[in-house]
Symmetry: C2
Subunit: 292 residues, 2 copies
């Protein structure tokens, strides 16, 4: 890989560029983005040059699509005519089935390999990019054929993923979407619903709620800070799985509501099941003791 | 205040003792607790001596009840006969109406002032106590009469609350319980329900969920680590308000579910309302940019 083109010079695209440089990449990094993002990315030396879509596609050995899912879907219809046959196109979209299907259909002149780094923060934009964004984080890859990971371009890309500190992990695209419906999209909607509920209840006296807020409320409402601009596409391309996750969650909440009203002691196994899972997700023995 | 008695040498009681010492308290701190907790608290020099319930009540100028709510309710029926008339009894229970009512009825020989420090962490026990636990945190006080805060004992206690860095704030006991039903008890049940939902869905392949977990899931499931031993009492003494909060939350989730299935663009105002509240709760302009 001599030339990388980052489509979408935002938080993830910018962080990927910074991470590559930190990991020793010495080739050229082109940016394709809005004028404002490109100006900022150049000023921060996150990209080396700005380029048009066609120019970047024509020059890049690695094309990294880091836009919202809807933008990725749109650009996949246009890229094929411009790419080098030896190039690899990959993406960082939060849902994978729609993107992989689109790429299967439109990208015929070079390889496509879907990806999803499980990383981010609630602040958007290239100004918030960090070279350490992917360190220690799972980087999902969704090859459609076994040989997808065995090409030279794919091997080199996966090697860079390891060098930036991420942990590559292979998922089927549809299974990925089903899993993140529960591990990412449901927590987002849960946090949004919680914050919206409180916003309504304390509409006329918000300071009362703010004064009575512990760090627990901060943690559970942090995802609610996320932008709908990104979530609209994620939810639109995974609505069936997300609706299923919401149904499961509402069912569980209704069960908790029922037990609380009649036999609160029966909530103990629910709390214990939940605590056991919350501990497992942390991948440790509970040594994390953040205040709330 | 020359002698303080801590009933319940656990996370909150131990932290209050440590905070007092750090803030310059030079009197004696007695501990009333289980043998195991007392041994640990003595070893860590968090308390100066162990005492029986009657002995501690008889000697203390400030009696600090830091047990689970059910234990506080029980001990309030026994303390009155033993206390000094000049003493102040206060508590750190997470719900206030039931405790204040009980104290009104049983504590006649000295003053009682209800309290609730909005502080804690998911680890229990005196070994996790910290002198800085209350720094910068709201400390709710629930006087029942105006003069409750004007007695010498109350003034001295509030002065210590300020010296340990907490921010005293007066609430009506019932209103406190209604507010924390939304700001604390609902987030707890939301986190528990979320973790229980995922535990069930991934029962046969938990590693798949763990691998796909971002920091967002960690944050939203952290409260789920809390012990039911504490929550059983909290929920039992605030069930009406919590049921109401659950109903509001389920209603909001169902609304989100409906819009997602029919007109996803209509979710934008919900996301914006939620983000606005989540930002306000942080009391800043969004400079917190924790990764997820």
């Amino acid at each position: 890989v001599k030339t990388v083109a980052i489509f979408g010079a935002g938080l993830i695209g910018g962080s990927f560029a910074l991470a590559l440089k930190r990991a020793g990449f010495t080739g050229e990094i082109l940016g394709v983005s809005s004028n404002a993002a490109l100006t900022e990315a150049l000023r921060l030396r996150i990209i080396d040059a700005a380029a048009s879509e066609e120019q970047a596609a024509a020059e890049a050995d690695l094309i990294y699509l880091a836009q919202p899912v809807g933008r990725i879907l749109a650009i996949l219809e246009r890229l094929n005519a411009h790419v080098k046959p030896s190039a690899l196109i990959t993406d960082a979209g939060s849902t994978k089935a729609a993107i992989v299907e689109k790429a299967e259909r439109y990208i015929t002149r070079c390889q496509f390999l879907g990806g999803h780094p499980l990383a981010g923060k609630e602040t958007r934009g290239v100004g918030a990019a960090e070279a350490e964004m992917f360190a220690g984080r799972t980087y999902v890859l969704t090859p459609t054929r076994e040989r997808d990971l065995e090409t030279g371009a794919a091997r080199e890309f996966v090697d860079w993923l390891r060098r930036i500190g991420s942990i590559p992990r292979v998922y089927d695209a549809r299974r990925h979407d089903e899993v993140v419906a529960f591990t990412s999209h449901l927590p987002q909607l849960c946090s949004t619903a919680l914050a919206a509920t409180l916003a309504e209840v304390f509409a006329s006296g918000r300071s009362e709620a703010e004064a009575a807020s512990g760090l627990g409320l901060r943690d559970t409402t942090r995802l609610a800070l996320s932008s709908f601009d990104i979530w609209a596409d994620i939810l639109a391309t995974n609505s069936k799985a997300v609706l299923g996750a919401l149904d499961e969650f509402i069912r569980r909440l209704s069960e908790i509501r029922g037990k609380l009203g009649s036999e609160p002691a029966e909530l103990r196994p629910v709390f214990e099941l939940a605590a056991d899972f919350a501990l497992a997700v942390r991948g440790d023995t509970g040594t994390e003791t953040k205040k709330f």
